[in-house]
Symmetry: C2
Subunit: 191 residues, 2 copies
């Protein structure tokens, strides 16, 4: 890949976020995104399958990193600690500025199809995480439970991280949410 390629990709993503924010996802064309980025449609399609994929292109890298970090945690590490390590690592592949994620999230929240797509991506993330936990020797039901809890913490931490006035990095926010989970679980009566 030529040296300028990563820059094109980022310019296309920024142009798309700008346009989706200005005129709505539905009312934006690939031609307009390419033009705003000062590139051709052909270059757009070298990077993204369609205008929706601009918003979801990072999710494979995210899933891969989460699964790998959970798999790499030493065998003695408790399942939720392995998941915490995996979620903390995601700070590396999320956009550097929470502002970018906040804009992306606002666009998704305004469109039912994009919301569905987001839910499907999260369900896939949960399945991949459950697989990584089974590989660590967890049974089916506990692996599913821990994976779903991991996704619950991810969603909560993510919302908090993109919140106005939040200055901490993603890993710190994950640790806070995990601490809250522990405090909540300890305070309730195991039924």
């Amino acid at each position: 890949m030529a040296r300028w390629e990563p820059d094109s990709r980022d310019r296309l993503r920024q142009a798309a976020l700008d346009l989706y924010g200005e005129r709505g996802f539905e009312n934006t064309t690939v031609a307009e995104i390419a033009k705003r980025a000062g590139l051709t449609e052909r270059t757009f399609f070298r990077h993204f399958a369609d205008k929706r994929e601009v918003l979801f292109a990072g999710s494979e890298a995210l899933e891969e990193l989460l699964v790998r970090t959970v798999a790499d945690a030493p065998a003695a590490v408790a399942p939720l600690d392995a998941v915490t390590a995996g979620l903390e690592a995601l700070g590396e592949v999320l956009p550097e500025r929470a502002e970018t994620s906040r804009r992306r999230q606002a666009i998704i929240s305004a469109n039912a199809d994009l919301q569905e797509r987001e839910l499907i991506k999260l369900a896939s993330l949960s399945e991949a995480l459950a697989g990584a936990l089974r590989d660590r020797g967890l049974g089916d039901a506990p692996a599913n439970l821990v994976a779903e809890i991991g996704i619950a913490v991810f969603k909560t931490a993510f919302e908090r991280w993109i919140g106005e006035g939040e200055e901490r990095d993603f890993a710190q926010v994950v640790r806070e949410s995990m601490s809250e989970l522990k405090a909540l679980a300890v305070s309730f009566t195991s039924s």
Copy 2:
């Protein structure tokens, strides 16, 4: 509503589950469902908006019961205990036999549109639960976290409840999953 109506509704639902299982959701028409149930299409549309809604018609009752049970828990009850009570109550509105839910789930798993619909219903359930928790005085972020954990436990308990060979009622399976959550949370290092 006439006295025979609830019976029509149940016959339509059974006929739909049978046909979706036999020939697939996509290949079944409302006319065929009505015929199998020995009823007219007009009666079908008195009960369900379309053939998809046969599968999701119970979800409003489920959401309503969950929210009400959480709201009704005494103020001193810990958030996760209130959610546990809410999830246990859902056994009352789930089909009496896990077999019916198992067949429904198999139909949903075989169709991408139905899966999306299911994910959207669960996201709505999570939002409603978070609202009930905020009404109990929880802040936004903890309310979201507890709600997402509640849905995680619900999904895990539901999968377990519809599993082959599972004989316990839904409330018992919920309590088991909540106990597992607590054990998992206690064993990990609060980060």
